[in-house]
Symmetry: C2
Subunit: 300 residues, 2 copies
């Protein structure tokens, strides 16, 4: 029977591992938090003491970790996957990290006789729980085909986008558009609100036209109701844009809009807003204008 | 019988005036081009020699002109509307102009005993021809109610967004989001293409998620096929962002993303691209990276 390892049981990893159990997979789990491992064991998983132990027991080893350095430690470090993995097994890194690290870790896996996919996801905790994530995969087609049934237990839209690293490049492209679209919405709403308009009416007047977007539909209501419960945190989006800008620089690509929005994320994090939903990017424009769009009507 | 005047028979104005004729309105038209007037006369309109003559003969006077100074001349200038309008008639300015000029012209109309609405549109020539424009209106509710049947002959989504000027504020908010969303798409596609990914696959992988937008669906295919036939011209979007930035400055609002995209529009216009569709904003990022996203695969 196929043995699936799952390393990283955070906000995203835990519901994903639970979905694998529900679909009947034999799952061995590891996390630095013993209580999270215990929760999954109660749901039917086997515990693993370290990444190397997971690797020794599994055919497919999934990682869902915060950032690239965590992935490097889990794969390349002491008690890491490469210390005890079986040749022919597949490492599937579903963390959202720099494609540069994906390529480095993927190459090390291949030297050790393992296959590797980078497979970051989009959709957040609710879609992780539903098993309807969008999954953007980089790697070899035959490896993708082998892992596809497992990925389809986690997501409803699984796309092979290119070789190792391509999954994370696609995720960064996604995150660039999301962050900039939020920031643009902020500028539009601040202009309208300062001019005395009701931003809710402006939202409804423009959402059906070319300015309409999934960001506008999902995030304008959060801005108008001042509900910045994440969703997706400012601090994580800052990590993604840092990875995008670093990668772009390494390829001699300039991303002026992205770099500007990253400055907004840095300012907001410095002001203690790192744990708010990324829709709070609009606060950057609001603060420069000394105005909150939701309260603008009262102040006009 | 209600007499409708229509001043400005350009790419947008001509199909709009034709729609009014089709719906059975009695329409008197004026344009600086005599041949355009002749076309409309052939379709059933009456000709007017100047704006003042249109005003003297009409209850509702619609303007569809390129920019604010044109509207000032048509209303306030020699042989302008105010020279010969009948008290109680309504001036409906459907041009996309600065809200500052809307307020100035609207105030002058009210002093002369006329009502005024600013009612810019979104949707471009195809929706002007279909009579399915989005129309964003500023003015008094009872004036809006009086003109609404005429506006509904031109558009399928007509929204009163606030007092005089609010229509153009809403249009500027719309144009900010459209321009920034296009620019963000450009940065995302350039990053992905330079990294060796097929931008068409990236487009399909992300369009269903939070990065999805009407801009992405409408404009990514144009970028990938290098079809920059307007649509909506770079030069007109530059005018809109100029008006947005000027208005924002007058209200002590800073719009850093908008100002950055405006620099891209200025550069492209200086390079002779002003008549291309605004999806060509991506060329700004492409040129900085010395890459075309559609040809990137060949060059990797």
């Amino acid at each position: 029977m196929l043995q699936v390892g799952f390393i990283g049981l955070g906000i995203m990893g835990k519901p994903m591992a639970l979905n694998l159990l529900r679909k009947g997979y034999s799952v061995t789990v590891h996390d630095i938090s013993e209580s999270k491992v215990a929760e999954l064991v109660q749901a039917g998983a086997s515990p693993g003491d370290c990444c190397a132990e997971i690797a020794s027991r599994c055919d497919i080893i999934i990682l869902m970790l915060p950032d690239g350095p965590d992935v490097e430690v889990a794969v390349l470090g002491s008690e890491g996957i490469l210390e005890d993995a079986n040749p022919g097994s597949v490492v599937v890194d579903m963390s959202s990290i720099s494609p540069v690290i994906s390529k480095k870790v993927g190459a090390a896996c291949e030297v050790a006789g393992l296959d590797f996919l980078d497979a970051p996801v989009s959709g957040g905790q609710p879609r992780a729980a539903d098993g309807t994530l969008a999954i953007m995969v980089g790697g070899k087609p035959h490896v993708f085909a082998r892992v596809l049934p497992v990925l389809e237990a986690l997501g409803s839209m699984v796309t092979l986008t290119g070789p190792i690293g391509a999954g994370n490049v696609t995720k960064l492209a996604n995150q660039i558009m999301v962050a900039c679209n939020i920031a643009a919405m902020g500028e539009a709403l601040v202009l309208a609100a300062r001019a005395g308009l009701d931003p809710a009416i402006v939202f409804h007047a423009v959402r059906g036209g070319l300015a309409g977007s999934n960001v506008l539909n999902a995030k304008a209501p959060m801005v108008l109701s001042r509900n910045f419960q994440p969703g997706f945190r400012i601090s994580l989006h800052q990590k993604d844009l840092r990875n995008a800008l670093s990668m772009a620089e390494s390829m001699d690509v300039a991303l002026p809009l992205t770099s500007l929005v990253q400055q907004a994320l840095i300012v907001l994090t410095n002001q203690g807003k790192g744990n708010l939903d990324h829709s709070a990017i609009v606060m950057f424009t609001e603060r420069m204008a000394n105005l909150e769009v939701a309260n603008a009507l009262a102040s006009v």
